[in-house]
């Protein structure tokens, strides 16, 4: 096995995360005017502003500020929330679980929709199913995520009274209640990503079905089922996994929106609350953690790709 590929991917993930720390750091630096003044509001006293400047280290050179901040962040210290003085890291920690759960269930629902539709439309190109599937994927990407969430709440929760319109129960507390709360938000985020995935799964499968080795498999008299499952699908999976990886960032974008619509206690809603309260350290932390999460999932997918495709021996 060639571990150079793994090493290379690991290295580029580290570079990306470092880059994100710079972006997140700069975010606060470019707040117009004095960040301390902006954070405290127009009516704060000069002493309060000076005190905050000192506490945040704003009076030091910018590179030193960044390195200090980075050093603390690496040790898990992301500073204190401006609003309630709590540790930012502690606040974020409790939000990672719900966001991650929502992302994974959304991904699962999205794939459960996209996989069969994409497969059938690739196996029967030009059929009614194919046309409907193509139209579905075209229309699906145009639906605003938050609007779909709102409509589901109106119909499923308010009118039919089937599922709760918002909120969260930890899975350890009550798995049934957790499930009831997660279905609507996960379906909302999953539906939009399904419409994109359907298209990619269809074209990945079509590529493979037209390959020579699939023709050979058919020519030697294999049953169609065996051709599709053993020869075509296994190879198409490689491309499909790559595409899912590329979709992860977009999926998390949808998760942020869904969390707000369904009052889901995740990182996205926390970030938006931080914006409303001008709580910049909290916003910094939330953006950083989400970006690290996305990068790690991407890295995981890349390594999965490495395991799935024995041909990969990247230089």
């Amino acid at each position: 096995m060639n571990y150079q590929y793994v090493l290379q991917r690991l290295l580029s993930a580290i570079v990306v995360v470092l880059g994100v720390t710079i972006v997140v750091f700069i975010i606060v630096q470019i707040v117009p005017g004095d960040p301390a003044r902006v954070m405290l509001g127009p009516y704060a006293s000069d002493e309060a502003v000076l005190g905050l400047r000192e506490r945040l280290g704003l009076d030091r050179p910018i590179l030193e500020q960044y390195l200090l901040w980075l050093g603390r962040a690496a040790r898990g210290d992301l500073g204190q929330s401006l609003l309630n003085g709590q540790e930012v890291a502690a606040q974020l920690w409790g939000r990672i679980g719900p966001s991650f759960e929502l992302a994974m269930v959304s991904l699962a629902i999205g794939l459960a929709i996209a996989f069969p539709i994409g497969m059938i439309s690739a196996l029967k190109p030009g059929s009614v199913v194919d046309v409907v599937a193509t139209l579905f994927s075209q229309i699906g990407v145009s639906v605003p995520t938050f609007w779909m969430g709102i409509l589901l709440v109106i119909v499923v929760s308010l009118n039919l009274g089937l599922l709760p319109p918002s909120g969260y129960t930890p899975i350890a507390e009550d798995p049934g209640d957790w499930l009831a709360h997660i279905i609507l938000p996960a379906f909302t985020a999953g539906f939009v990503s399904a419409s994109i995935q359907t298209r990619f799964i269809r074209s990945a499968m079509l590529d493979v079905l037209n390959a020579n080795y699939v023709q050979t498999a058919r020519a030697k008299g294999l049953a169609e089922r065996a051709v599709v499952v053993n020869h075509a699908l296994r190879n198409a999976l490689i491309n499909i996994v790559t595409i899912i990886g590329l979709q992860i960032t977009a999926l998390f974008s949808g998760i942020v929106i869904v969390e707000v619509v369904f009052s889901w206690p995740g990182l996205g809603r926390l970030a938006l609350n931080a914006v409303e309260e001008r709580d910049y350290p909290l916003l910094q932390g939330a953006v950083l953690v989400v970006a690290v999460m996305v990068t790690m999932v991407n890295l995981f997918v890349d390594l999965l790709y490495f395991l799935l495709d024995p041909r990969i021996e990247y230089v």
Binding site: G19, V23, I139
Partner: protein, 301 residues
């Protein structure tokens, strides 16, 4: 069969075709586009939206901010086609005015993304390995932060409001244009016409603008159209969060967030603004897909 001319004129030789009008590539593309049903449907929807955007105030049946408290939460009727909201304002009029906001944000944001992104991509693809690495790694970093979250963070820093929303959405889509422009440049940078231009002593900027840019235009045009769809979705989401358009100006996203508290009284407040966003975004998506097929028939599947 699609894409082949219906009849071939035997009197016309290959040389004639080669010597035909200089813009025949674009004309061919236009012909293919006009035959693309979904693209034409998208274009028709967009024409309606653009008309609403341009003539907005002149064609609204009511004052979009005019309140009528005797007529709150009205269902759709002959007087109010889309009903009335919690202040008794005519939803249809507000949707018409909202079109302008969506289009403005879309065009400004995508212009920012295109100009900055494509320039960075052109430079990255054409210059040294080091410049390329630095630019593209920076793009990777921007790309690692989910689009909406990055936009929220940027608006948080710059301040709420429609102008900053445009900038934020523009910044978010810079990496996409950089990647597309770079890939297109890499595909042609070793072609003979580039080398010939270099041999004749043309400067880098001249080569980029007169030789490279025209050849990478089609993927960029396609991406512009598709990005307009995303930009309008993003503006709606940010306004829904209360970061974009500020009251009392109507924006489709804000209308949905204002309606949220009243869905028990009137579900209609949640339906029509969403439909407006949906159709506009779909229009750009259909047109973009059609453009892709029309400009690059080889890719057609």
């Amino acid at each position: 069969m699609a894409g082949l001319p219906a009849t071939v004129d035997p009197r016309k030789s290959k040389t004639d075709e080669a010597l035909g009008p200089a813009n025949t590539l674009w004309r061919d593309a236009l012909r293919r586009l006009l035959r693309h049903h979904l693209a034409m449907f998208g274009a028709a929807v967009l024409i309606i939206v653009v008309v609403m955007g341009i003539f907005g105030p002149a064609i609204t049946p009511y004052d979009p901010n005019g309140m009528d408290f005797s007529n709150r939460f009205g269902n759709p009727s002959m007087q109010h086609w889309m009903g009335t909201d919690d202040f008794g304002r005519d939803i249809f009029s507000r949707i018409i005015i909202g079109a302008r906001v969506s289009l403005q944000v879309g065009f400004v944001a995508v212009s920012v993304a295109t100009i900055v992104g494509a320039s960075l991509g052109l430079v990255a693809g054409y210059s040294t390995r080091l410049t390329d690495e630095v630019i593209m790694r920076a793009m990777d970093v921007l790309y690692a932060i989910p689009a909406i979250l990055l936009a929220i963070a940027i608006v948080a820093v710059l301040g709420k409001g429609i102008g900053n929303t445009m900038i934020a959405i523009g910044i978010v889509y810079i990496p996409i244009f950089a990647r597309i422009a770079r890939a297109a440049v890499l595909g042609i940078r070793n072609e003979e016409f580039i080398i010939a231009a270099q041999a004749m002593g043309a400067g880098d900027i001249r080569i980029l603008l007169t030789h490279v840019l025209p050849n990478v235009l089609s993927p960029i045009i396609v991406e512009i159209t598709l990005s307009l769809a995303f930009a309008i979705l993003a503006e709606a989401a940010l306004s829904f969060f209360g970061l974009g358009t500020q009251p009392p100006d109507p924006s489709w996203g804000r209308m949905l967030s204002e309606g949220r508290d009243f869905f028990r009284q009137s579900g209609w407040m949640g339906v029509f603004p969403g439909l407006a966003i949906f159709f506009t975004v779909m229009g750009f998506n259909f047109l973009g897909d059609g453009l892709r097929d029309a400009l690059d028939p080889k890719l057609r599947r």
